[in-house]
């Protein structure tokens, strides 16, 4: 009966109910987008790292953390040195240069990348034809609206799009390594060296031997370690705290919206509250109705927020498919529901107590 009463009340004032649901839904969408964005970008990084085909990564001596982009400090002789080590099948140096956040352009030896990754899958065009050629994946091509043969501005200079490839192999944007080394005045040095071993089972053996021979100055780790550390690194960079702040804002907005909406509702329905009291409705019963109505708004807001997160993902992926990848964070649906319900319950407290404390005679006389 309470459910019906609450539902009919919400239905009776559709604009108020819809606005409340919308305003609760907005922070839900924000939280889901933020979580989805972090998950999507982590997944994209991990997929590209695995897609390179490498088993081991060696960073420059000035790279303090596993994921920071080191400047080019690894000498070219390291390639030959690594390839002479037991179980090493192939080594390849790369140079990284930040372009628009959060993207990097990677300078690569395309032949070696093809061997290491199993070959690029060209959707159109082909390999580099000249030093100023660039190969981009379909996401970056879509983002910059470029096709093969177009000129594209990167690092303050024009490049010719030589090929567009399927994504997921090392980087969204690659250029000839010699060109990027010249731009960065790297003198033939590399930012990182990727190593492929003859059998993935030998990865740890090779890492152990390299660490012994090279000392502690050069961070050496498996690609699996790197991909698993991406999540921890993202969290350590304050994303968790940022999400917590957004959740806090969501609770405050939800609280304020429900409080205002339910308080208006209580004022508008003073006589109805008087009727319920005249029938013997206790304070608990009246508070229960207001709480149930608020919780229903919370559920509606969560559902709408989830729906809007799908829309937001579509928009982000249409506008910035290479820079930002958004996953649908299904695991967070129960959490945002709980957040909305807590906010709604808190927001219904004052209106509920106000309604419960109405004098029944005054309430019945309310016009």
């Amino acid at each position: 009966m309470i459910g019906k009463l609450v539902f009919e009340n919400l239905k009776h004032r559709p604009m108020r109910s819809l606005l409340s649901i919308l305003l609760i839904g907005v922070p839900v969408t924000l939280i889901l987008c933020l979580v989805g964005l972090s998950k999507g970008m982590i997944a994209d990084s991990q997929q590209r790292a695995r897609g390179s085909g490498a088993d081991i990564m060696v960073r420059g001596s000035n790279a303090k953390a596993m994921l920071t982009q080191s400047s080019a400090t690894l000498p070219p002789q390291f390639i030959e040195f690594f390839e002479k080590q037991p179980h090493v099948a192939l080594a390849m140096g790369i140079v990284s240069h930040a372009i628009e956040l959060p993207l990097f352009v990677n300078g690569v030896d395309l032949d070696r990348l093809d061997k290491m990754s199993g070959g690029m899958q060209y959707l159109s065009g082909g390999p580099f034809q000249g030093p100023d050629d660039v190969i981009i994946d379909r996401f970056y091509a879509e983002q910059r609206k470029k096709k093969v043969g177009d000129s594209i501005e990167l690092i303050g200079r024009p490049w010719r799009v030589a090929g567009i490839v399927e994504g997921g192999k090392l980087a969204h944007v690659i250029v000839p390594i010699k060109t990027l080394q010249e731009i960065d005045a790297a003198g033939g040095k590399f930012s990182q060296i990727l190593i492929k071993v003859d059998d993935p089972k030998n990865t740890q053996t090779v890492i152990g031997e390299l660490k012994q021979k090279m000392g502690p100055d050069y961070p050496i780790f498996s690609m699996e370690e790197m991909t698993s550390q991406i999540q921890a690194s993202v969290n350590s960079q304050g994303l968790s705290a940022f999400i917590a702040v957004i959740i806090g804002i969501g609770v405050v907005i939800g609280f304020a919206v429900v409080c205002l909406s339910m308080y208006m509702s209580v004022l508008q329905r003073t006589r109805e509250i008087g009727i319920l009291k005249s029938l013997g409705g206790s304070k608990g019963f009246i508070i229960g109705i207001i709480l149930a109505e608020a919780l229903m708004l919370g559920v509606g807001g969560t559902a709408l927020g989830i729906l809007m997160s799908f829309g937001a993902r579509e928009i982000i992926q249409k506008v910035q498919p290479a820079s930002f990848q958004v996953e649908i964070a299904i695991g967070w649906w129960p959490r945002v529901l709980a957040i909305s319900l807590v906010a709604a319950a808190l927001g219904s407290l004052y209106p509920g107590l106000t309604a419960a404390s109405h004098d029944p005679i005054e309430a019945l006389a309310y016009e």
Binding site: L5, S278, G280, P360
Partner: protein, 230 residues
């Protein structure tokens, strides 16, 4: 009419409202016994204390002093929560403005009273017959806005008696109705009283409406000035 023990016994009832810093006496010592099964009309000019008496008997407000007993319950000693609980099954209200919940159908308005009283939604065969007698059995799935004033008041009467209360309190039940519907509602109240022995207290300004009762109490300045049995 059953002339057994009084279902309502009031002795020395006083009620004073505080308006700002001024005490305003609404009831100045009311004594009244209402036998079980009586249909009592209460008349009097505005400000005579009729509504205050109605609100105290109905447990909507506590007395300032005096004794008020409804059935076995002593209202003068009850807390706010106890009076709220008392209203669930002991009293049924019919108001001048019908006071139906506008968002619910007639059926659900009646069901709300059952729900609050902790009773199952289903009603007994006797109540179904009463709905037929009230002429609203075919109108139960309509919301108040789709019902005429007379129909709304009949739904309100059905809601008031659905839990078989000890007393039915009707405050100007015909005040918002035309003469035809007024007559119909009054006849319904008398019919309910005749058929079920339901004790009814009805406040009215209308002498013709008052004549439907077994007895008429006249109030003035917070006191009962006459009590005439028909």
């Amino acid at each position: 009419m059953n002339n057994g023990a009084p279902v309502i016994r009031i002795q020395g009832l006083r009620k004073t409202y505080r308006v700002g810093k001024v005490d305003v006496p609404a009831l100045r010592g009311v004594d009244l016994d209402v036998p079980k099964g009586q249909f009592l009309s209460i008349v009097g000019p505005s400000g005579s204390g009729k509504s205050t008496l109605f609100h105290i008997i109905g447990g909507l407000t506590p007395p300032t002093s005096g004794d008020v007993q409804v059935g076995d319950l002593d209202l003068s000693k009850m807390s706010d929560g106890e009076r709220t609980a008392m209203r669930k099954r002991t009293v049924g209200f019919v108001f001048q403005k019908f006071n139906l919940l506008p968002n619910l159908t007639a059926r659900d308005n009646i069901a709300v009273a059952r729900h609050i009283a902790g009773l199952p939604r289903e009603t007994d065969a006797g109540f179904q017959q009463m709905l037929e007698a009230l002429g609203i059995a075919g109108r139960l799935d309509h919301k108040p806005s789709e019902l005429s004033g007379g129909e709304q008041q009949r739904v309100a009467i059905a809601r008031a008696i659905v839990n078989h209360p000890a007393i039915l309190l009707a405050d100007e039940p015909t005040g918002n109705l035309d003469s035809e519907n007024s007559k119909a509602v009054l006849e319904i109240l008398r019919d309910i009283n005749d058929r079920t022995g339901q004790t009814i207290l009805m406040i009215t300004h209308n002498p013709e409406a008052a004549s439907y009762g077994h007895a008429v109490v006249t109030m003035r300045d917070g006191r009962i000035v006459s009590h005439v049995t028909a």
